[in-house]
């Protein structure tokens, strides 16, 4: 089980209480598809992903980005049992979606960078540390049911 300090819990809860999902979700997913273009393999049905401009303007990408970001909510609500919380989603990503779990880290890095751009200097090293720890635990949980 992961140990969380009170400070970490407070930082993470604070971030999510102020999180603009409709802004950050689309930006994070589109950045991931642009910076790591091999991740586009899962979205062939999404329409035009030809270049950065079309990815950023793609409504399917935007909608999916919001959905994926909300996927973090359940981890936030169950911080002391993240592994079990994501077991079903892990199975889904493995058996149905066939997503390489290494890709979860790529998206996590993009979420971090988009959030950093939004928060500016308010995204302190301490906040970055807590947030990246949370994402890393979720990423690990999502990879747990792969075999």
């Amino acid at each position: 089980m992961v140990e969380w300090t009170d400070k970490e819990r407070s930082i993470i809860s604070d971030i999510f209480s102020h999180l603009d999902y409709e802004d950050i979700g689309p930006k994070a997913l589109s950045r991931c598809l642009i910076v790591y273009p091999w991740t586009q393999r899962h979205f062939s049905g999404f329409g035009n992903l030809y270049n950065a401009e079309s990815i950023i303007g793609n409504a399917n990408v935007a909608a999916h980005g919001i959905k994926v970001l909300h996927g973090l909510d359940r981890g936030l609500k169950n911080m002391d049992n993240i592994e079990a919380t994501y077991a079903d989603l892990s199975t889904l990503h493995s058996e149905k979606l066939h997503v390489d779990p290494d890709n979860f880290k790529l998206l996590a890095d993009c979420i971090t960078i988009v959030l950093a751009a939004k928060m500016g200097q308010a995204f302190t090293a301490e906040i970055q540390g807590a947030f990246q720890k949370f994402l890393a635990v979720v990423v690990s949980a999502l990879g747990k049911q792969y075999h």
């Binding site: 950045r31 950093a116 500016g120």
Partner: protein, 144 residues
């Protein structure tokens, strides 16, 4: 994955021209974040009296690192050759595990996002990420 296209090189040079004036602050901030968020990296700095992220030594190191990045921009057409001596330094004297290059690169990107949110577009991000990966590879060239 590490071949920089003409577009990558152009993008990196143009972005660097915009941000290089702040290179000292960028470097200091990236190193500070690295020391806090990835505390295992402090193992390379046990010789510093003050290992805190905003110490004079940490700031100086950030400045040194970013000077290296800036130098690499000018040698972008042949990083392996251009960074040969730096690679020898890292391989034989510093012996930094190359996994840490990725960590510092990530923190440089985070700082770029914070300091230049409008200029650090996804297109700039991908070219800069590729560039830092290529620099890291060139730095690891002499290791074995």
């Amino acid at each position: 994955m590490t071949t920089l296209t003409a577009k990558d090189k152009q993008t990196v040079k143009a972005f660097w021209a915009k941000v290089s004036g702040k290179s000292e602050d960028i470097g200091a901030a990236a190193v500070a974040r690295m020391l806090v968020v990835y505390p295992q990296t402090k193992t390379y700095f046990s010789h510093w009296q003050d290992q805190s992220p905003h110490s004079a030594a940490a700031r100086k190191h950030g400045i040194t690192v970013m000077m290296g990045v800036g130098d690499a921009v000018t040698k972008i057409d042949d990083l392996k050759e251009g960074l040969k001596e730096l690679s020898e330094l890292h391989a034989f004297t510093l012996r930094v595990d190359p996994g840490n290059f990725k960590i510092l690169s990530h923190n440089i990107l985070v700082v770029m996002a914070i300091m230049f949110p409008t200029d650090f577009t996804p297109d700039v991000h991908v070219s800069l990420d590729k560039f830092l990966a290529a620099v890291s590879l060139a730095l690891a060239e002499k290791y074995r």
